[in-house]
Amino acid sequence: MVIYGVAILAFCMLAGELAGDYLGVLVGVQANVGGVGIAMILLLILTNLSHKKLHISPLTDSGITFWSALYIPIVVAMAAKQNVIAAVSSGWLAIVAGVAAVVVSFALIPVLSRIGKGDKP
């Protein structure tokens, strides 16, 4: 059933958000620490387990893949609700700081990507 897939997804997200919030309280910050990341790992584990043991039906799968496919449209909606005005009118300091942070971070990607890649069997 399609709803089973949606429900599994909902369970993973809520459990992840809760864990992320607890983690935030635990380390004493006013933010969710990795809630979505934990939810993703949970979904990976759950679906891998149940595919082997419970035989998830393709319909259940489609309850998850539908939301995965809606990802780009949702991101477009997210872009359309950004505070772009505040971003472009926030003055030179903010612009320089933001641009510089992005440029330096981009430059570090090839460097860090080497870590853990050399150990091919």
């Binding site: 910050v29 539908f66 609700k81 950004q82 942070a101």
Partner: protein, 255 residues
């Protein structure tokens, strides 16, 4: 007649947002196909178009939520809000390669830590160059260069002025928009074409919306890997910026 139309559209806000986003995506893929001959990805155009709409929405209403401040398009705010965004991001993990994630785990974790620290340093240096001398302001702007959430959280914790907090949010917003738009263009240069570098990318950039948009416009298959590390970034930033990193700045600035 138009009154009724407006009423129907705004009463069914989220349904209207499906239609709105559907049309934006359709037009974008048409432009990608016909005008750029497929060179610029349709979703990259759609995201840029979304940002342009957000700009004009802000001009028209003076609000802070882009087109979502227009009552007709309020549903876009729900569809594009954190709840649906995170739900869809989690869904992209379905079918992701666990082995690839495990293998990039170390590089991904290092990239989160380094990403927060590097962005903080860059932001702080810029703040100093612009004449800020007190540790609280420097740290708040540095934190804003991490993400637009780390900035205000740090600023509030340290008691920064509201003007400085606004600056930190501005720096974070610039970063997020630039990552969204710029990623597909720099991707070939920085080797962003496999799960491994996508996890490093997510950890270094850290802005969830920027990473979500940037990877969607580059290669949607990489989304789960980048998103996974990016979601830890803001938490780590909120942990480090007002504590260790602030103390470091205080020690260097002397006040």
């Amino acid at each position: 007649m138009t009154d009724l139309l407006v009423q129907v559209l705004s009463e069914n806000g989220i349904i209207t947002s499906f239609l709105f986003v559907g049309v934006v995506v359709w037009v974008s893929y048409l432009v990608s196909d016909k005008l750029s001959k497929g060179r610029i990805h349709g979703s990259a155009i759609a995201i840029t178009l979304g940002l342009v709409f957000a700009y004009f929405g802000g001009v028209a209403t003076g609000g802070s939520k882009g087109v979502a401040d227009i009552p007709l398009l309020a549903g876009v705010g729900i569809l594009g809000g954190a709840m649906f965004r995170d739900f869809a991001i989690v869904a992209t993990a379905f079918g992701a390669d666990i082995e690839a994630i495990k293998k990039a785990g170390v590089a991904g974790s290092i990239s989160i830590l380094l990403g927060v620290i590097v962005s903080f340093i860059v932001g702080s240096v810029v703040a100093v160059l612009f004449g800020y001398t007190d540790a609280v302001s420097i740290s708040t702007i540095g934190a804003g260069a991490a993400t637009y959430i780390v900035g205000p959280v740090t600023g509030t914790a340290l008691g920064a002025s509201s003007q400085v907090i606004a600056l930190s949010v501005g720096a974070g917003l610039i970063k997020s928009v630039l990552v969204m738009v710029g990623t597909p263009f720099v991707a070939p240069w920085i080797g962003l074409n496999n799960p491994h570098s996508a996890m490093v990318y997510g950890g270094l950039m850290g802005t969830t919306s920027g990473v979500a948009g940037g990877l969607a416009a580059t290669d949607p298959k990489l989304v789960p890997y980048g998103a996974m590390t990016a979601t830890f970034y803001t938490g780590v930033g909120c942990l480090l910026a007002p504590s260790i990193l602030y103390l470091l700045v205080l020690w260097l600035a002397g006040k």
